[in-house]
């Protein structure tokens, strides 16, 4: 994959500023969305909840966190979309299976009629392998929950709600489109092209590889940030739960190093959640192009418009090492 920072000959700070600037400049010419279709919230709430380790105790943490937001899930079908892309022992690539299980338990406890777990891995398309090696298969089997391989689901052609890319529509999984509530469940990671990957970037996983190939290369070609924006504007996940217990720093989203943070981040505004995640990682969210643009029409980015729940941000604030693509280095 061509390296955008090298192509531009930029260092980290300049890259962050330039990507934000390019999107903003483009948007100034003509907004690639109809703002009347988006109800930008005046304020948003994001919760940071302490969770020091993975395991069965998380169910209560997630349940208590969800109650802070009181999502109406009674009788509804909930799709949990974790980030499960690749596996390498000793790393922190994927949303931990116990976090997914905790979320499933919490939504069922709150009255959801059905919880489905779905993912379309961007690299490993062998989900039987991924489900087994990550431990998710056993968690799902214990709870008799269904898993849907979003790479190989039936598809619904869906008009995009914004047009940062040139796609008029995309084939999206029918399970995703039939869900009453889509919950993005990313891992807290740096990303060598997108700076960070959290609730919005996690949506790449819903684009079916059986239609578009792997590793969802068409989205890279259309512009990663543009694709993130179009997917977020179209899918609009109603809730986001970020596995920030052990995140990934450095050359994420696959080759970075584990970074313990000890939190689960939650909220119903994916932009606000991602902006908070960036702050936890020590990155200014307004310098991330797609977040700055998303704040114009999808959600809140500024700290002044985000009400914090749970623990104060300062408790988890870290300084994540950035990917070498953003620092000018090439060390792995």
């Amino acid at each position: 994959m061509p390296d955008p920072t090298r192509r531009l000959g930029l260092g980290r700070r300049e890259f962050l500023a330039a990507t934000a600037g390019a999107l903003v400049a483009g948007a100034c010419r003509r907004r690639p969305y109809d703002s009347r279709q988006f109800a930008h919230p005046d304020r948003s709430a994001v919760g940071l909840f302490a969770a020091d380790e993975y395991g069965d105790g998380l169910a209560d943490v997630v349940y208590r966190g969800l109650r802070e937001f009181a999502p109406d899930v009674t009788g509804r079908r909930v799709l949990l979309k974790p980030n499960m892309v690749e596996f390498e022992r000793g790393t922190a690539i994927n949303t931990h299976a116990s976090v997914v299980a905790a979320a499933a338990d919490a939504f069922l406890r709150l009255g959801a009629a059905e919880v489905i777990v779905g993912e379309g891995p961007g690299h490993r398309r062998d989900v039987e392998y991924l489900l087994g090696v990550t431990g998710l298969f056993d968690y799902l089997a214990d709870r008799r929950l269904s898993f849907v391989d979003l790479n190989h689901d039936d598809v619904v052609w869906t008009k995009l709600q914004s047009h940062f890319t040139n796609f008029a529509e995309l084939a999206l999984p029918s399970t995703l489109m039939a869900a009453d509530l889509v919950v993005s469940m990313p891992k807290l990671k740096t990303h060598h092209w997108a700076v960070i990957t959290a609730g919005m970037k996690n949506l790449f996983g819903v684009v079916p590889g059986s239609i578009y190939g792997w590793p969802k290369n068409v989205l890279h070609m259309a512009g990663i940030e543009n694709s993130i924006l179009d997917l977020a504007a179209t899918i609009r996940p109603q809730f986001t739960i970020v596995d920030g217990i052990t995140g990934m720093e450095g050359d994420g989203p696959i080759m970075g190093q584990p970074k313990h943070v000890g939190t689960i981040v939650m909220g119903n505004d994916v932009v606000a959640v991602d902006a908070t995640c960036a702050r936890v990682m020590g990155i200014n969210p307004s310098r991330i192009g797609y977040l700055a643009e998303a704040a114009r029409f999808l959600g809140n980015l500024s700290e002044s418009t985000i009400d914090m729940r749970g623990e104060p941000l300062a408790r988890f604030a870290s300084s994540f090492a950035l990917p070498p693509s953003l620092t000018g280095g090439t060390a792995g």
């Binding site: 062998d126 190939g213 792995g332």
Partner: protein, 300 residues
């Protein structure tokens, strides 16, 4: 550890499940109840079941006037799965006429070329096969294209003169992308100075496409890697592909096959058509069960 299912019992179970999951239109979806798709139906055709001819008929029926097969009329052509369909067509007693047009189309496909990059030290000028138009070349679609085109040539499908040059580019791309120590990742062997790890399924498919180059170091190393790691990836598909590949290379596939049988309970629970059909091929102990995956001369 689950008990290994016996070969005959497993075959009957897999065959029954696949038979029951055939759609009314004669094709197979990725799972029972899903719409018929090229990849899943092609694997059923390759599994040599009593109903594989139905799968083949579905593939030939959906082939368009332009020679391509599409999962959906709006969808981009998936070159990897079209190659798999061509491979399935070569299993017919009389290879369907559409195979010629499909082979010609595949020969016209080229992944994007891009400039040399310090991020991925590889030959970016090699334009092999991408999954879909306008994207980069990747190991799987390239391997499926090589395998299908070579099998089609062996089966007497009329080929354009460009065949040799395209096969050469595809083979050079696979050799260029082989991981240190053998085996293949999905596309790159290293990124940002980090060596990427090889995976079982991609390695098995790439090896199958390169069987006629067994003397090449990359192929030899990769075969050794697969033999040593054949049971490392616990999934029905990974174990089935490893078994098929080792059989095609006349290597001992018993460990991989035993592991595949032990994995069967999980595979049956997920009920993914591609995996079940690949397992059926792997478990099939008839001498010609893996013939469709064999390119190059048989060993004496």
């Amino acid at each position: 550890m689950p008990e290994a299912a016996s070969g005959a019992h497993a075959s009957v179970t897999l065959s029954d499940i696949l038979a029951a999951s055939c759609n009314a239109d004669g094709g197979w979806g990725y799972q029972r109840g899903k719409s018929s798709r090229i990849e899943s139906t092609a694997w059923v055709a390759l599994a040599r079941t009593p109903f594989s001819s139905d799968a083949l008929r579905w593939l030939t029926r959906i082939q368009g006037a332009d020679g391509w097969l599409r999962d959906d009329q709006h969808a981009p052509v998936n070159y990897g799965f079209n190659a798999l369909a061509l491979l399935a067509m070569t299993t017919a007693h009389r290879v369907p006429g559409g195979a010629t047009a499909l082979a010609r189309n595949l020969l016209g496909v080229k992944g994007l070329r891009f400039d040399p990059s310090p991020v991925v030290r590889q030959d970016n000028a090699l334009q092999a096969w991408s999954w879909v138009d306008g994207t980069l070349s990747w190991v799987e679609p390239t391997a499926y294209a090589l395998l299908a085109l070579k099998r089609a040539r062996q089966c007497g499908v009329q080929m354009p003169a460009s065949l040799a040059e395209r096969l050469d580019v595809g083979e050079r791309m696979l050799i260029d992308r082989v991981c240190t120590g053998g085996g293949w990742n999905y596309g790159n062997a290293q990124v940002f100075d980090k060596q990427l790890l090889p995976h079982g399924p991609t390695t098995a498919v790439a090896l199958l496409s390169m069987r006629d180059h067994r003397g090449v170091a990359a192929v030899r190393d990769s075969l050794v890697f697969l033999e040593q790691h054949a049971t490392a990836e616990r999934s029905g598909l990974a174990l089935a592909l490893a078994t098929i590949c080792l059989r095609v290379f006349d290597r001992d596939a018993r460990a991989a096959l035993d592991a595949a049988r032990r994995q069967l309970a999980v595979s049956l629970r997920l009920e993914q058509t591609v995996t079940l059909a690949a397992l059926l091929v792997a478990i099939d102990d008839r001498p010609d069960a893996v013939e469709a995956f064999t390119v190059g001369a048989h060993d004496a």
